[in-house]
C-alpha cells in the first residue's frame, strides 16, 4: 500500500517538473466567466427556446426507445400513469416523494384501481432520534429495498431533462431513492416543461451556480438516464431491459398547467 506522498512523488518525477516554481503555474481550476452571470444567461436562453427544446427532447428520447407524453393537465398525467399501470397488470408502484408527484394526487387514483403505492420516504420521526435511529434507518432501508425489488413500476420526478440527448437528470436526496428508476421493469418519470434544459453543459453550469457547496448540490449520486436499459453484447443486436427498466416513459406536464 503506497502512501499518497510516495505515489504522487513518483508521478512528479515522471513529469520532470520539479524545477517549475509553483507560483508560476496557472490555477488548477478556472471558469471562463462568472458562474452566476453565465447561469443567468443560460436561464434566459432556455426560457426563449423552451418549446423548441421540448420538441427536440421528444425526438431524442423517442429515438432511443423512450416514450414521451406531453400533457396539458395534471389529470392527463394521472390518467397516463393509471392506464400504464393497468396495462402492465401492476400491483405495486414505488414512487419518489416529490412536490410534483404529491400535487398530482396519483396515489389515490392508483389505489382506486387496486394498485398499492409506496413512497420512498421514512415515517415521521425515523430520522429524528440519535443512536437508536441508525438501526431504525437500516430496517427502513431494507424494507424499501424489498418493496423496490418486487415493484412493477417505479414513478419518479426529475431534477432536469436534457433536450440534446433526451436525458433525465436524477439526483439522490431524501425521498428520492436511486432504485426507483433502476429496479422495477418500468420507469415513469414526471417533469414540468420548465425543467427542460438544452445540454449536459447547461446542467453542469446550473448545478455549479446553485450554491457555494458544489458537492452538496451534486448529492451522493446523479444518474443521467437516457432511454431504457440496453445491451448489444450478443451479436451486437440491440436488446432492452437487461439490468435496468426495459421501458422508460416521460410525462411532460406543461408548466401553464395549474396545480
Amino acid at each position: 500500500m503506497s502512501s499518497q506522498e510516495a505515489f504522487l512523488a513518483r508521478v512528479r518525477r515522471a513529469l520532470h517538473k520539479d524545477s517549475v516554481p509553483p507560483a508560476a503555474r496557472p490555477p488548477l481550476l478556472w471558469h471562463d466567466q462568472g458562474i452566476a452571470e453565465a447561469a443567468a444567461n443560460v436561464q434566459t436562453r432556455l426560457a426563449a427556446q423552451r418549446s423548441a427544446l421540448v420538441a427536440q427532447l421528444q425526438q431524442e428520447l423517442s429515438a432511443v426507445g423512450g416514450v414521451v407524453a406531453h400533457v396539458q393537465a395534471a389529470a392527463e398525467a394521472v390518467a397516463y400513469v393509471t392506464r400504464l399501470a393497468q396495462e402492465k397488470n401492476a400491483t405495486l408502484v414505488v414512487r419518489w416523494q416529490s412536490d410534483l408527484l404529491d400535487t398530482l394526487e396519483v396515489d389515490a387514483a392508483l389505489q382506486q384501481r387496486g394498485v398499492a403505492v409506496h413512497a420512498t420516504t421514512l415515517p415521521p420521526g425515523a430520522v429524528a432520534g440519535p443512536a437508536a435511529s441508525a438501526e431504525a434507518m437500516a430496517s427502513q432501508r431494507q424494507a424499501l429495498r424489498d418493496l423496490l425489488a418486487r415493484a412493477d413500476l417505479g414513478l419518479s420526478g426529475v431534477d432536469y431533462v436534457i433536450a440534446e440527448t433526451g436525458t433525465l437528470v436524477l439526483t439522490a436526496q431524501a425521498g428520492q431513492m436511486r432504485g426507483v428508476s433502476l429496479l422495477p421493469p418500468v420507469h415513469v418519470a414526471v417533469a414540468r416543461t420548465s425543467q427542460v434544459i438544452a445540454t449536459l453543459a447547461d446542467y453542469l453550469l446550473l448545478v455549479q451556480a446553485a450554491g457555494a457547496d458544489l458537492q452538496q448540490h451534486l448529492t451522493s449520486c446523479v444518474s443521467f438516464v437516457t432511454g431504457p436499459s440496453r445491451t448489444g453484447d450478443i451479436e451486437l443486436k440491440l436488446t432492452v431491459g437487461v439490468h435496468g427498466p426495459g421501458e422508460l416513459h416521460l410525462i411532460l406536464v406543461d408548466e401553464s398547467t395549474p396545480t
Binding site: M1, S2, Q4, A6, F7, L8, R10, V11, R13, A14, L15, H16, K17, R25, L28, L29, H31, V64, V127, R141, A149, E164, T167, A172, Q173, A174, G175, M177, R178, G179, L182, L200, A201, L204, L205, Q208, L214, Q215, L218, T219, S220, C221, V222, S223, F224, V225, T226, G227, S229, R230, T231, G232, D233, I234, L236, T239, G241, V242, H243, G244
Partner: protein
C-alpha cells in the same frame, strides 16, 4: 486460470490470456476461426458506420476532439496536482482513497476491504482496470464469490474466457455458443432468441445484485474539482453495482482524472459517440461520496483505488499520450489488423492498435515485440481516436526502441546503410535504379515482384512489390522537359529539377 496465476513468477501473468510471444501463431489461428471471422464481420459492419454517422451528426466533431485532447494534455502535464485535488475533494465527502503502486498492491487493497467488511459475494461492473490486475482469480482463490454483471463479461466469465474487445467483450462468440453456455451453466431452457437470453441473464444477475455485499466497478472519469467518479454504461451494471451492495469499490488507472466538472460534458460526448455512436449512453452515473444520512439507498462506504501499475513510466516516456486513451474501442473497430484477427490474438488485456502500444509498455517490450510490428501504420486508428492519439507514431517509437535494443542481422543493416548512401548521391541513385530495372527481369511477373531470392525472400513472402519501371520517373521527367522546352538546360528547368 488459477494454476497459471499461481505458477507464474510475477504479477505480469497472463491469467487466461494467450500471452504475447506467440502472436504470429495466434493470429494465424484466428484467421482460420470461422465463428470469430463471422463476429468480426459484424463488428466492422455495425460499429464503424455508426461511429462515422454519429461524428458527422455532431457537426463539430473535429473541434470537440481537439478540446478533449487539450483537456487530457492539460491534466497529464500536472497529473500529480490533479490527483491530489481529487483525493482531497473525495475525502471531504467521506470517500476512502487508496493508492496502489502496482497490480499486487491494488489486489491487496481490494482484498483487505473485502476481508474487513466480511464480504462473501462480490458483484462487478465492467472494468478493464480490474482485467489488467487479474482481480477475479485473486479474489476467487481467497474464497470470494465474484460475479461479472455486464452481460458480455458475464458470458465470458461463464465460458472461462477473457474479453476480446474493450466494449464488446463477448463479440467473438456467436449466439448459438452463448445459448448453449447459458443452458449448460444456468440450467435454463435452451433458447437462441436474444431478448429471451437477455432475460435469463437479467434474472440470474438480479439475484446476485440483491445478495452481494460488495460492488466493484471501474471509473470512466474522476473529476478533480468535485472528487466525483463517473461510470458510463448501457445496461445498468454500473448503477446496480454501485447502489445495491453495502460497500462500493471503484478501481481506476491514475490517468482517468479530469480537472473540472465542466470538462465532463466534452469528454463524455467524445467517449460515447466514438464507442458506440450514441450521443450519450443509457446510464451515466456521477458518484460524489457514499450515501448521506438522509439517502435511502446507495452504499454505506465508497472506496476509490487509484492505480499506477506502470503508468508513471508511460508518463515519463515519449509515448505519454497513450495515457490519454478513454478505452472507447474505436481504434480496434477501424484497424485492418484487429478486423482480421480479433482481440485474443494480441495476447493480453488491451487489444487492437492502442493495445499494441500499451501492452509492450505494461508487460515489457521484449516479450510483446510482435505487437508494435503488427500494424500497417495506415493511420485509421488516429483518425478514429476521440482524443487524436497518434498511435502510428507511438508504434514507430516502439519499433525504434526494438531496433536500438537488438542486433539487427548484418545483411539488413548493411543493405540499409548502402541504401542510405546511394540515396544521398543522385547520379549513383539513377544508375542503381537503371541497374535494378535490368537485374530484376527474371523475377518480374506481370509488372510485380512476387518472389525474390535470399536475402530478400522474407520481404516477398507476404507482400508483392511493384517492379522497377523500365524508364524511371526521373528519365521521363527529363524527357518531358526536353519536349516542352528545347532549351532544357536553361535556368528555369533546373530549378524544378528534383533532388539536385
Amino acid at each position: 486460470m488459477q494454476t497459471q496465476t499461481a505458477s507464474s513468477p510475477t504479477p505480469r501473468s497472463h491469467a487466461g490470456h494467450l500471452g504475447t510471444e506467440g502472436f504470429k501463431e495466434h493470429a494465424r489461428q484466428a484467421l482460420q476461426d470461422a465463428p470469430l471471422q463471422q463476429a468480426l464481420e459484424l463488428l466492422v459492419t455495425n460499429f464503424v458506420p455508426r461511429r462515422v454517422a454519429a461524428m458527422v451528426a455532431l457537426g463539430n466533431a473535429e473541434a470537440l476532439r481537439t478540446e478533449a485532447r487539450a483537456i487530457k494534455e492539460r491534466t497529464m502535464a500536472r497529473l500529480d496536482e490533479y490527483l491530489e485535488l481529487f483525493a482531497t475533494q473525495a475525502q471531504r465527502v467521506g470517500v476512502h482513497v487508496h493508492w496502489a503502486h502496482d497490480a499486487a498492491e491494488a489486489r491487496q487493497i481490494i482484498t483487505n476491504i473485502a476481508q474487513d467488511i466480511g464480504a462473501q459475494v462480490i458483484v462487478k461492473g465492467k472494468s478493464m482496470a480490474s482485467e489488467e490486475i487479474h482481480l477475479n482469480p485473486h479474489l476467487e482463490q481467497r474464497g470470494y464469490e465474484v460475479i461479472e454483471t455486464d452481460l458480455g463479461e458475464y458470458i465470458i466469465q461463464l465460458a472461462g474466457e477473457t474479453p476480446s474487445h474493450i466494449i464488446a467483450p463477448a463479440i467473438h462468440k456467436t449466439r448459438q455458443q452463448i445459448a448453449a453456455l447459458l443452458h449448460e451453466k444456468l440450467g435454463t431452457p435452451y433458447t437462441e432468441v436474444i431478448p429471451e437470453m437477455t432475460q435469463v441473464a437479467r434474472q440470474a444477475l438480479r439475484e446476485h445484485f440483491l445478495r452481494a455485499d460488495m460492488g466493484i466497478t471501474g471509473a470512466n472519469f474522476a473529476i478533480a474539482e468535485t472528487g466525483s467518479i463517473v461510470l458510463v454504461t448501457n445496461e445498468g451494471n454500473g448503477r446496480l453495482s454501485s447502489t445495491m451492495p453495502r460497500v462500493h469499490v471503484a478501481l481506476m488507472g491514475m490517468e482517468k482524472v479530469i480537472p473540472r466538472l465542466a470538462d465532463l460534458a466534452v469528454m463524455l460526448k467524445v467517449l460515447t459517440n466514438s464507442a458506440t455512436g450514441q450521443k450519450i449512453s443509457s446510464y451515466v452515473t456521477m458518484l460524489t461520496g457514499p450515501r448521506q444520512t438522509h439517502d435511502l439507498d446507495g452504499p454505506e462506504a465508497l472506496h476509490v483505488v487509484i492505480m499506477d501499475n506502470g503508468r508513471s513510466a508511460i508518463l515519463r516516456s515519449t509515448n505519454r499520450e497513450a495515457l490519454y486513451c478513454l478505452r472507447c474501442g474505436a481504434c480496434l473497430n477501424v484497424c485492418p489488423i484487429y478486423q482480421n484477427i480479433g482481440g485474443h490474438a494480441y495476447g493480453w488485456v488491451y487489444p487492437g492498435p492502442i493495445g499494441a502500444v500499451l501492452t509492450p509498455m505494461f508487460t515489457g517490450l521484449d516479450t510483446a515485440q510482435h505487437l508494435p510490428r503488427a500494424s500497417t501504420l495506415c493511420g485509421a486508428c488516429r483518425e478514429a481516436c476521440p482524443v487524436k492519439i497518434n498511435i502510428p507514431h507511438m508504434l514507430l517509437n516502439l519499433r525504434q526502441q526494438l531496433v536500438e535494443r537488438h542486433d539487427v542481422p548484418w545483411v539488413e543493416r548493411g543493405l540499409f546503410m548502402l541504401w542510405a548512401w546511394i540515396m544521398q548521391h543522385p547520379r549513383l541513385y539513377a544508375s542503381a535504379v537503371a541497374l535494378a530495372a535490368l537485374v530484376q527481369k527474371p523475377f518480374v511477373n506481370q509488372g510485380w515482384l512476387t518472389k525474390l531470392p535470399a536475402p530478400f525472400s522474407g520481404w516477398t513472402q507476404s507482400r508483392d512489390f511493384k517492379a522497377v519501371a523500365a524508364r524511371s520517373f526521373r528519365q521521363r521527367w527529363q524527357e518531358t522537359l526536353q519536349y516542352e522546352r528545347p532549351d532544357a538546360h536553361g535556368a528555369a528547368a533546373s530549378e524544378v529539377r528534383p533532388h539536385e
